[in-house]
Symmetry: C2
Subunit: 298 residues, 2 copies
Amino acid sequence: MQVRPPYKIALVQMAMAAEPAANLDKACAQVRQAGSQGAKVVCLPELFRSPYFCQKEDAALFSLAEPIPGPSTEALGWEARRSGVVVLASIFERRAAGLCHNTTAVIGTDGAILGKYRKMHIPDDPGYYEKFYFAPGDLGFQVFPTEFGNLGVLVCWDQWFPEAARLLALRGADIVFCPTAIGWHPDEKAAHGAAQLDAWRTVQRGHSIANGVYLAAVNRVGLETPAGPPGIEFWGSSFLCDPQGVIVVEASAVREEILVDTVDPGRIEDVRRHWPFLRDRRIDAYQGIDHRFLDVER
Amino acid sequence: MQVRPPYKIALVQMAMAAEPAANLDKACAQVRQAGSQGAKVVCLPELFRSPYFCQKEDAALFSLAEPIPGPSTEALGWEARRSGVVVLASIFERRAAGLCHNTTAVIGTDGAILGKYRKMHIPDDPGYYEKFYFAPGDLGFQVFPTEFGNLGVLVCWDQWFPEAARLLALRGADIVFCPTAIGWHPDEKAAHGAAQLDAWRTVQRGHSIANGVYLAAVNRVGLETPAGPPGIEFWGSSFLCDPQGVIVVEASAVREEILVDTVDPGRIEDVRRHWPFLRDRRIDAYQGIDHRFLDVER
């Protein structure tokens, strides 16, 4: 029995400037920095190239979108090749006039695009008006094989859906990366902030436990008010947890940081031998899980 | 829009004696006690009528099994009627010669059996040799409507499987009850005990969050050595969490306790309005989740 060797990954927790060019420059610098620290896979936060524009619905903001391949994947492809790393880059993808997606490009160590994942679950909540900007993904839940390991990607709202994480585990993911843009409404923070952050962390740790995979949540940080006050205070707190849900490394709620730590397929092997959930799934009895609801007369 | 009123539930954390009759007597007394504290639904731990016999494989132990209806449901039915409560009673069910299940009977306030749930996911691990004793359940994942609320049941190993919790939410559960028998191998406790307990709690809280339901885990407590030392130290720690995964009440790891607290359908309504995961599920894209694994050539 052969298990692949451990590899290092980097979670880049960033604060965003107003200017896309500045954010792209910073992202490139962070990829270099992560590579110099030994990371082989580097994940940027969701939509790192701009402030979180979905705080309002404004057709002018579609101008932020770009094709894939495009300027961002080109710049990051260059960095990926230079540092010999895989880069996960979350991009506002313009696919056609009036058709955009929230897409994560997976860029290989040769600088070429290995594949892309289009965010499948699109939120629409006060301050997170994503259904206005993004068509739901049409590429399914994918795992990207690389020379280091098998990488699954979910994006933000996806991270609340157990079916998504399960499908990535069934497709052989070692780790699920979750580029994210989540934070507190400043006027809710005192009453609900701690419970919200804890629920976010807990549901993702739960995916790790139920599936025996690593999970890396990569969030932005800082207060952004593109729609005026009060804005959103992005809560950082990026973390890596192991296949038993144990938090290996975690960032602060307020600062930019690069977390570099290890994914060890041997640890997955060990945890799953002791907790063999994949062995015992009742695949004969999950009918209905692809229904919206199973209405019962009462 | 009408939301049903809150109702109180009780989680009975018990330590088991060697004699089944003593455990049944205690269970009946605990149901009365819970009823006197205002509980309307009372959940006993998994297989409360005996020590956790699955620590060894011994055909003689099939003598512990009983039919449903049978002596345990009769005694508890009497208590249910007397106290006007619903009782969830986990029983080693003898269905036919050589065919037993790990079954939870749901007993109504009139003392009659409302329905039963046969544990679907059956473990087989050192000290938990359940595949020897229990045939996998054949009644699916069920929600039991009662005059108080809609009750879902999962049993122990089931509680690690997100599909099971999801199906109960889709069938309208307010709360998922998880009668359980889980503990530490004493020789693993120092190195792994804290992580194991935390993973158990976390994956279940994750189900609550992902589905917007309450969840009540009801465990036994105490060291049991029916197969000789070192035995299993059942870790108690029964808890109720709310639809955001917040722990409402939690028992100790070492003592018998009855936890009585409230399930509020209004809280479910509120949490799901703010975190509308059921609205956004990609039911068009979960194909493959009923497969054992989605093998990929690599």
